[in-house]
Symmetry: C2
Subunit: 196 residues, 2 copies
């Protein structure tokens, strides 16, 4: 790899590190709110991924030739990746609370309804307009402020789904977004709303 390629690779990995750790916080709180061990397990899996990513970032940063002046900048990168990994670890610990199986206190699910940005879980009905459309075509983020963070299909979860993902009947989707778009999403998924 040339130095330029290494820079591009480093940049992409840093974007991935930021997005993955933010997703882990989202998923860990979702696991808690929905009492979902499946989502909690995904947080545990992502923690391993972040561990690997962090090592790759550090090795790449160390392999780029630099002057003494530039060394301080690279040290910042290494410190950032260390701190990001701590975010991942903290999300992991939150997920472990769910996995250890202590019965959720009845207060916990309520926290979700009062926050400004909320997590929503809907099942796509056979008669929903969402069926057969890609996430890009639906543009839930742009239109109703709901970002799809995970999709469950045939018992298998996909996190941070690609914009080309085509939704199918019986998919379960988890979104993060503003309370305003929550009801609209539920109505779209159930088939009660056909235009938006």
């Amino acid at each position: 790899m040339s130095v330029e390629e290494k820079f591009v690779s480093l940049e992409e990995m840093l974007v991935d590190l930021k997005n993955t750790t933010e997703l882990m916080i989202d998923l860990a709180y979702s696991a808690l709110i929905f009492g979902s061990k499946e989502i909690a397990k995904e947080v545990v899996r992502l923690e391993d991924y972040v561990d690997e990513l962090r090592t790759k970032i550090e090795l790449t940063a160390l392999s780029i030739p630099r002057s003494i002046e530039e060394s301080r900048e690279f040290l910042t990168l290494i410190r950032v990746s260390t701190a990001a990994e701590e975010i991942a670890d903290a999300a992991h610990h939150l997920a472990m609370v769910v996995l250890k199986g202590a019965i959720p206190h009845p207060i916990l699910p309520l926290t979700e309804t009062e926050t400004e940005e909320t997590i929503t879980r809907v099942k796509v009905s056979e008669k929903s307009v969402m069926v057969g459309k890609t996430l890009e075509e639906l543009d839930l983020a742009g239109k109703i402020g709901q970002r799809t963070i995970a999709i469950q299909r045939n018992g298998k979860w996909t996190y941070n789904p690609d914009k080309d993902t085509v939704l199918r009947a019986n998919d379960i989707i988890i979104t993060r977004g503003f309370a305003a778009g929550k009801k609209m999403l539920k109505d779209l998924a159930s088939g009660a709303l056909t235009k938006f």
Copy 2:
């Protein structure tokens, strides 16, 4: 305080804990992207707040009478508050990277443009339609998917501003939201866009 009041108080504190720790992650990454020591300092301040909040939650949970069966549920609450505080600690460490003053590597600001959900910083111009309106009236979250996470006025920062906050000329606002609404926000703030 009656047992009912304690439950309400516990619920409100848990919502606050979740929102504050999520905000801290947002702000810590913002501090890094913008190289802002001011925002980083706020993360440090919020960490102290979360420490106090956690203690209050634990003391309240312990002061509610419960049966042996219910004790497990309360233990979950205590574990959740511990894990949430770890999230706060991790955000704090990320903020410290900014505060320690290591020169940011040129790659860091780029990470912001490529992520799906982005942080935007705009200054409200005198001729902007935003001047004199409350956040509720503007409804940036509902209309362009941009949630205002912080406002700077006369050098002072306000985080998670209230919906009744009236915007003034020269306010600097930081939002979190989808890339689609970013340009619109910039145009609204500069005065180039007067309707949305």
